[in-house]
């Protein structure tokens, strides 16, 4: 099977759905331009024309209401935000309107709207280009929230999201755009609301969110050499959550670390942790532990940025601590560095 990167998988899913269904269109600030949202919308305007792939004014609030209006009157919009930080401008529409149009009409309306939001660490992105804000949206009934990690998942889940008659917010960590794997060429759906065990293990469950699954895999490799077997569970869909998959894993291992790429306080990890404690209390060998951003605005200077973001080292040390192992010397390990791919500016 041919390999495809995550950005290409998004592009392929979008292209195939636009070919399949003329009601699908994609829009947002910068969508048809040369930079094309990290390449994820590259070539679409050439293929489908400016009526189905277009730029917008910097009016996130109105453009979200616009997507809602188009969705309830028969089209299937995909709205793209190059940073979730900018999508906050659309919170009024997402929280007050998009989330409850189906409920308030007693199910008379469908809202087939996909909102893609880029998250993640860059190159000194600072306080306003760096957030994730998963729990801001998982908190709201009526929104589906997904955060695929792998290229094959993002292709299938985005396809499922476009075909879904409910609003779906898709979080995409920008570092994932470079990830490559074998991805089927034909269109397919990965159902929303179904998680995935990325790596089976016995000793401890690591629930990873988005990019942190990449870090968790690195950590698991390192720990395997020390005889520790890590199970990695990727919820993939944050709302509605595949709770059973996570709880089953934790019941088997008796230990759980939640590795989020977001703030810990009142974050999605708090929700997961609460559910695990409520439903697996008797089977836990240790309290659930959470990993995430430092509770500060994101600093720009590299040395502090390194302190702010968790990574594979953080996960390794958390597992060691939970299992009562000595902290290993990780100096010789090969950790991920985005500098190999990206040196700014945006």
């Amino acid at each position: 099977m041919r390999k495809l990167d995550y950005a290409g998988a998004i592009r392929e899913a979008t292209t195939q759905e636009m070919e399949r269904d003329p009601r699908v269109f994609v829009y947002g600030i910068g969508v048809p331009t040369w930079s094309s949202i990290f390449g994820t919308t590259k070539g679409l305007v050439e293929k489908f024309g400016p009526e189905r792939c277009f730029d917008t004014p910097i009016s996130e609030d109105a453009m979200t209401g616009f997507g809602l209006g188009a969705a309830i009157r028969g089209l299937r919009p995909i709205h793209v935000h190059i940073r979730v930080d900018f999508m906050i401008l659309a919170t009024n529409q997402l929280v007050n309107m998009v989330s409850n149009y189906i409920y308030s009409t007693g199910g008379r309306l469908k809202v087939p709207l996909v909102v893609r939001a880029v998250i993640g660490r860059g190159w000194g992105q600072g306080a306003q280009h760096s957030k994730s804000l998963f729990s801001n949206f998982t908190h709201i009934p009526g929104l589906k929230v997904i955060a695929p990690t792998t290229p094959s998942d993002v292709k299938g889940m985005l396809t499922a999201a476009i075909r879904d008659d409910n609003p779906v917010i898709c979080f995409e960590h920008r570092w994932l755009y470079w990830a490559e794997e074998e991805v089927p060429e034909e269109a397919y759906e990965v159902p929303l609301g179904v998680g995935r065990i990325l790596r089976p293990g016995r000793d401890v469950t690591v629930v990873g969110l988005s990019w942190m699954n990449v870090e968790a895999r690195l950590a698991a490799d390192i720990l395997a050499r020390r005889g520790v077997s890590v199970e990695i569970v990727d919820p993939r869909t944050l709302a509605p959550l595949d709770e059973g998959l996570i709880l089953d894993s934790v019941r088997r291992t008796g230990r759980c670390i939640i590795a989020d790429c977001d703030w810990v306080d009142s974050g999605f990890s708090a929700e997961l942790s609460a559910r695990i404690h409520e439903k697996c209390f008797g089977q836990l060998k240790a309290p659930v532990r959470r990993i995430g951003f430092a509770h500060t605005p994101c600093p720009t200077v590299r040395e502090l940025e390194n302190e702010f973001y968790p990574n594979a080292r953080t996960i390794v040390h958390a597992v060691e601590d939970m299992l009562g192992l000595e902290a290993a010397n990780l100096d010789g390990e090969d950790f991920f560095s985005h500098e190999r791919r990206f040196r700014g500016p945006f």
Binding site: M63, R73, L75, G106
Partner: protein
């Protein structure tokens, strides 16, 4: 006042009066029965300004996709004439527009072109822009209409929506029900522009203003505006001056609160109340008093029957709470 226009045909004059009377009597029923505490939903009454929605919806003759604010009653009834689902929703019954989950602020009859009214100022406006886009792309022949108060023009999203609609060349109507107040705050305390109509023009919409208080004038204006909007693929902005007779929310008057004067409102607005004017116009069309009374009695009976049906309809069972958060896959 658009005094130069041709008189409308008799049938249109009657149709407009029916719609005005339906909205007014429905709200008078609410005023009489709200204190019974069975319609437990905050109501933002249209009374006094019904002629705006009635005139515009009649002009579009069933081709409108209406996006109204929380001041939703006149828009809903003008567009749908559906008192059954209207009162069922206000009484919180399964036969309502949202099986009781919406209430007065969230009335929805998308099958009849009243999509869903919204309770946060200005939020419905960009949704109408998206509907206009879909209508154009799918060639439905329908025209999106956003109704909102002058308070919505305080909000950034109004200007974003206007700019976007003009930029995307969408034929649609932005209809400002300009009653001069945002809740109780007068326009002068909120807006610098002396004329909203003038302020809108550079954004690429055709802007019209009407201070006649007259349903036929609004009807004629809306017909002109929508014809031009469709022909030129441009949005139109209609600034219709009107007067809210009651308080912002609820069934009371607010004369004793000191921010507006009863005598002035009575002299400037209530004296030329749109219903009164239109009723007199029917007489000039040789519609006799008995015929008018029969028409009114017919509407009165329809309202009573709808209320009766609502009272007999089921209240949602507790299991409906969790139903319908998401659309089930067909």
């Amino acid at each position: 006042m658009r005094s130069d226009r041709e008189p409308l045909p008799k049938t249109t004059a009657i149709q407009l009066y029916r719609s005005l009377f339906l909205a007014r009597r429905s709200e008078e029923y609410i005023v009489e029965h709200y204190p019974e505490n069975l319609m437990r939903t905050p109501m933002h009454m249209s009374m006094g300004q019904e002629f705006v929605c009635v005139g515009v919806c009649a002009a579009l003759d069933g081709t409108a996709d209406v996006f109204a604010s929380y001041r939703s009653h006149a828009a809903f009834l003008a567009q749908t004439h559906d008192t059954d689902r209207f009162f069922s929703e206000l009484y919180g019954r399964t036969s309502g527009t949202g099986e009781g989950k919406g209430g007065s602020m969230h009335l929805a009859a998308p099958d009849q072109g009243h999509i869903l009214s919204s309770g946060v100022v200005a939020t419905q406006i960009p949704v109408a822009v998206g509907a206009a886009f879909a209508n154009l792309r799918l060639a439905t022949g329908r025209t999106a209409v956003a109704f909102f108060g002058d308070g919505a023009a305080d909000a950034g999203v109004f200007w974003e929506s206007l700019n976007s609609a003009a930029l995307f060349r969408l034929p649609m109507l932005f209809v400002c029900e300009d009653n001069g107040y945002a809740v109780d705050t007068p326009r002068a305390a909120r807006q610098v522009a002396a004329s909203l109509t003038e302020a809108v023009k550079p954004f690429g919409a055709d802007a019209y203003e009407d201070d006649s208080g007259d349903v036929e004038s609004v009807y004629t204006l809306a017909r002109e505006a929508v014809t031009k909007a469709r022909r030129d693929r441009r949005p139109a902005f209609l600034n219709i001056k009107c007067c809210r007779y009651l308080e912002h929310v609820g069934i009371g008057t607010d004369w004793n609160w000191g921010y507006r004067d009863q005598a002035t409102v009575e002299r400037e607005w209530i004296a030329r109340d749109a219903l009164k004017v239109q009723r007199a116009r029917l007489a000039s069309h040789q519609v006799g008093e008995s015929a008018i009374a029969a028409l009114e009695q017919e509407i009165e009976s329809a309202i009573q029957a709808s209320v009766q049906r609502a009272s007999l309809a089921p209240i949602p069972t507790p299991d409906r709470l969790h139903a319908g958060v998401f659309h089930a896959k067909a």
